[in-house]
Amino acid sequence: MAQPLVKKDDDRDEEADYSPFLGIEKGAVLQEARVFNDPQLDPRRCSQVITKLLYLLNQGESFTKVEATEVFFAVTKLFQSKDIGLRRMVYVMIKELSPSADEVIIVTSSLMKDMTSKTDMYRANAIRVLCRITDGTLLTQIERYLKQAIVDKNPVVASAALVSGIHLLQTNPEIVKRWSNEVQEAVQSRAALVQFHALALLHQIRQNDRLAVNKLVSSLTRGSARSPLAQCLLIRYTSQVIRESANNIQTGDRPFYDFLEGCLRHKAEMVIFEAARAITELNGVTSRELTPAITVLQLFLSSSKPVLRFAAVRTLNKVAMTHPTAVTNCNIDMESLISDQNRSIATLAITTLLKTGNESSVDRLMKQITNFMSDIADEFKIVVVEAIRSLCLKFPLKHRSLMNFLSNILREEGGFEYKKAIVDSIVILIRDIPEAKETGLLHLCEFIEDCEFTYLSTQILHFLGIEGPKTSDPSKYIRYIYNRVHLENATVRAGAVSTLAKFGAMVDALKPRIFVLLRRCLFDTDDEVRDRATLYLNTLGGDGAVVETGADVKEFLFGSLDIPLVNLENSLKNYEPSEKPFDINYVPKEVKTQPLAEKKAPGKKPAGLGAPPPGPPSTVDAYEKLLSSIPEFANFGKLFKSSAPVELTEAETEYAVNVVKHIFDGHVVFQYNCTNTIPEQLLENVTVIVDASEAEEFAEVASKPLRSLPYDSPGQTFVAFEKPEGVPAVGKFSNMLRFIVKEVDPSTGEAEEDGVEDEYQLEDLEVITADYILKVGVSNFRNAWESMGADFERVDEYGLGPRDSLAEAVNAVIDLLGMHPCEGTEVVPPNSRSHTCLLSGVYIGNVKVLVRLQFGLDGPKDVAMKLAVRSEDENVSDAIHEIVASG
């Protein structure tokens, strides 16, 4: 903040004989408020005291409950005075004090008297005050007067009642909704403001009734609203009606468009702008519809009023996202806005130009932006950098000039966020535009020569290690990387050592030179740097000769770690130094579910260096690897399918357990993922006792207990069942967690030697037919369906009963079958009465299955479905029907 934020009266030096409120103190003013109790009221003096009280309140001063009550009671005495000026002040003061429900009663009778007064202005003000302080019960008493007031011939009284209605609608909607006849009458008022307020209230009352809003808009658009404000409201409600009747677009007959277009010629700028904006926001707006709106917005661009320029450029910026060509006509006006004094306008103009510019104008634009960048704040610069990134991806041939621009601004002053945005952009361009790679990498290398942000330096070094060795001349980057080892802090030095080692591992010709450099790092002052250098020198092998680095060494050094880091960290913490070395194979691989609060916002695309490294191999591969590493399950054959985890405990219980069902041809393995959430406990020998009495075709063959389950470190235990080969056997299993529990001393973290055996009941688990179907998509369903032939086609019809919606019925059947929805047919358009959904999958035994589901609404809610199945085996087609029939 440039100026100190102090209260006016604290600033005494300069203002000593200046402010009428000099030295004002709450205590003293409250004392003065006693004049309100004088038998002979002095209106002038009382008004002055109220002004002081208002001054205190308007400066953020607050009164305690007792103080407020005292002032309120004193103020109510002022109703005795007939002085008009004082009465007006009293109304304001009561509103500002907002008395509590038990105090309101004191003033109610005075206000009610004013509300029925012959003096119009008393009525208007009393209505406003009463509605501000009243609650529901009092409101029913005064409702009659309020309804009369809405149609009062004095516009001030009517407006007061209408605006009160707008406020009361939030708290007492059922009462205000009863006034719609009066409000409807007020909409026809000759007084401009009354019409404006009535229109707002009527729309709010009827906003959920589409037909009523439609009627309101239809009747008003035929006439004309009496004020620009009401006209703006009407335009907004009209766009709402257009949005909701979007079905007419196909016929080329957009309702009310002519009205909006007509408003573009209104005399008030506010109305013109509102209409232009409404047109640009129409769903599926055509260029013919857009043109007149863009033309008026273009005129606003050269207005002398900054507000109009801002409004126009902001709207055009939005239009440019969806209809860039429509905005190109404004480019010349927009270019002159780059030098606008208002930086918000200038930034919006630039980002719009970057969206609408064509390939030939890029260079000219960049020249203009260069001058502009030096005098805007970082937050605006980031917006520009992001726009330039998009432009470069749009016109890859222009990468040279755009990359140069980014590297130039990278050298200039700027904060971390701004620099990170630039670096992220360069990284994305390097990844997406192969021709930009070498220059981009060199720009990054130059940047780390003089980079004050450790985070960015290490990230760039990491990126260089991945991309640098793949370039035509990797050796040119070595100098920049090795400079870091001399000039930077330990974190960056360690990063540089790793990057050097990557070059050594990937480029055999460079290996001898890399070895020389790595050996120098052995004398670094920092442990981590020395350790890394030692590790790389010992594992890269070849003793510095030009030899190929083994694939296993590369994998060991630079491969992705398929263990969650948090699990590795926990296991290392739990490891007790002993003869037995730490074994990374014992680290649990189960990814712990993130608590909800820590989850990142969904849908945000990771970008640039902040993007996570390539994820671990797919879940199925990971499961397969995990199961094959367990000797008991090694001879089960190929894993057919692994289900999504099914929770067996409720959230926030002592032990969290979920299960993954692994389906083999002749076996099923349950993988129980367990987490101990009690810090004072260590669980050992954890098993799940499974009762399969309701799953007759299954016989337990093996169980693999979990040796130890410390606090907050997930682990797994397994139980395997044999089942008839190739048969989709189903059944229900009840589960009991059994373990030995040992107390842990929270201060030392050590567990007691003796433990107690204990059990914990888990939810039941079912194996269903859908577990035997793999979700496998097909690229062209129609082709697949026809080539499959109708030999084993089975068709039948089913009634699904009453459903909330068609979409709900479709999703239920997809979930039941566990198949892959094709061609986006899982999405049901809103308000549809029929829908076709296409599914594909592979049934156990590697049999391809295709399903065509046709849904229709039968009556208001009942859903009927026609199911057609084609597969390579008639038994499988029948099985699919059985699933649906029994589901």
Binding site: H167, E274, N342
Partner: protein, 149 residues
């Protein structure tokens, strides 16, 4: 919703503030933000020259009137153009109450009257009156001229 109306002197000291729908713990943030906005942009500004800014989904229109700076914050239907209208009503009513563009002293002298004007113009975040002559009459509890209706 008109979320805030704030008047400060040229040094950034708050003279008057009215918030609607902004919790008290966030008010300091707004005060600081607005005063900084003024300090950055209003130096050397012409009298009643309008400035505009947007912060996320909120719009701000601000100006200099004599010796005081006025800031209005709005959102939703109170966008930059609606705020311009509100600003026009406020500045013309203040000039009307003070007889001219007010110095800081004059503004404070007419403080009570200005509070009444604001009370007529904005009611709990909703624009109520827009005509300065009408407002002048209303604060004196006089009905508006029939010609003004």
């Amino acid at each position: 919703m008109l979320m805030a109306i704030l008047v400060s002197n040229s040094a950034g000291n708050i003279l008057l503030e009215r918030f609607n729908g902004i919790p008290s713990e966030e008010r300091l943030h707004w005060r600081t933000f607005l005063v900084k906005l003024g300090a950055d942009n209003l130096k050397g500004a012409r009298n009643e020259e309008l400035f505009v800014a947007s912060q996320k989904s909120v719009y701000i229109v601000y100006t200099v009137l004599g010796g005081v700076c006025i800031y209005i914050v709005g959102k939703d239907e109170y966008d930059e153009l609606a705020l311009t209208e509100v600003m026009f009503v406020i500045t013309s009513s203040i000039k009307d109450a003070c007889g001219k563009s007010p110095s800081e002293r004059l503004f404070l002298d007419k403080y009570g009257k200005i509070c009444l004007c604001l009370d007529e113009i904005v009611w709990q975040g909703i624009l109520e009156n827009t005509e300065k002559d009408r407002i002048r009459r209303l604060i004196g509890l006089k009905p508006p001229n029939p010609t003004e209706i």
